[in-house]
Symmetry: C2
Amino acid sequence: MSAQQAKRRIGILISGRGSNMVSLIEATRSGQLDAEVALVLSDVAEAPGLQKAQELGVEARAIVPQRFRTKLTGDDAQRYVDALKEAGVELVCLAGFMRVVKDPLLGAFPSRILNIHPSLLPSFPGLHAQEQAWSYGVKQSGCTVHFVDDTLDGGAIILQRVVPVLDEDTAESLSARILAEEHRLYPVAVGLILSGRYKVAGRRVAAFA
Amino acid sequence: MSAQQAKRRIGILISGRGSNMVSLIEATRSGQLDAEVALVLSDVAEAPGLQKAQELGVEARAIVPQRFRTKLTGDDAQRYVDALKEAGVELVCLAGFMRVVKDPLLGAFPSRILNIHPSLLPSFPGLHAQEQAWSYGVKQSGCTVHFVDDTLDGGAIILQRVVPVLDEDTAESLSARILAEEHRLYPVAVGLILSGRYKVAGRRVAAFA
């Protein structure tokens, strides 16, 4: 091994613009995250985030599933596994990836797939979480980084940050404020998991003191 | 009418120690709330909060329902209505009242029954919310004041405050920190509702600007 150790390699899965992807790439460039984004994959060929990743010098391509529209299973999932493993990825970050991840991808990266969700889970899982929260009339919302398991947004929570809902908010203004907080939170959570300095007891994830 | 206008009259329903009851009584005494607690009722004869209320000079008594253990309906609820109306109560605050309130009590005080719940609803409704939140592994919890309707902790939210869950928390230490926040929040929410300076659109409760 050379004196300069190889960086930890992250893979990111997107379906759209990939703004959390950009935030993670920037965190690796600034040194906040001692890691590199080795590969970006999208299930949507025309996802704007693919071009953005390439502009940022990150390998990025679409792997468009043949079956199903809302989940990633079987041979389709295996193509993701192969690409990620070939790229030397050890940690997979979902960033607006609009499919429920199942085996064999889940099993290939046990406790090494993370997601960020725009609500304080377990409130408002699923699609349009910010709109759900706004319509429900909560006064506090936020975002959650969690391990991905075979439930919908139900995996163990790594970190959460609060975003207050203002009386004058629209669903759009709330979404924008939550998104800004997502961009700050995701790199912190990824750094914690890469550091290994945490323990899991039941569903509780705690950083080492 | 005399120059000194009669104070707005609040009723409080408890089942136990009534610590939020004490907080509301103190808020009326300190002047934070321009109102008085006219009556405290308990569905449990030996609720420690009854004696505490009396020590604080507030009329307090038990009305023990004949039927059901977890809800308040029919003739039982009517006895509550009669007592509250006789005391001139216009706003009813549940404070650890361990029954689901139904008609005729609900109908007698339309949008004038409030509850405080020790979680960020809609996460963790029902019993032992703090323990639920701790076990689930959320990083942010808190408390909610909401209008009472015929759902379990599902009425429109008036105010919420956040209490972070610390890695070193136990369910007990979390509960204690949430309770301290409840004591601060409930008088603020009651003041807002008494002021009338809010509007409700769908489920969204917003203070006037």
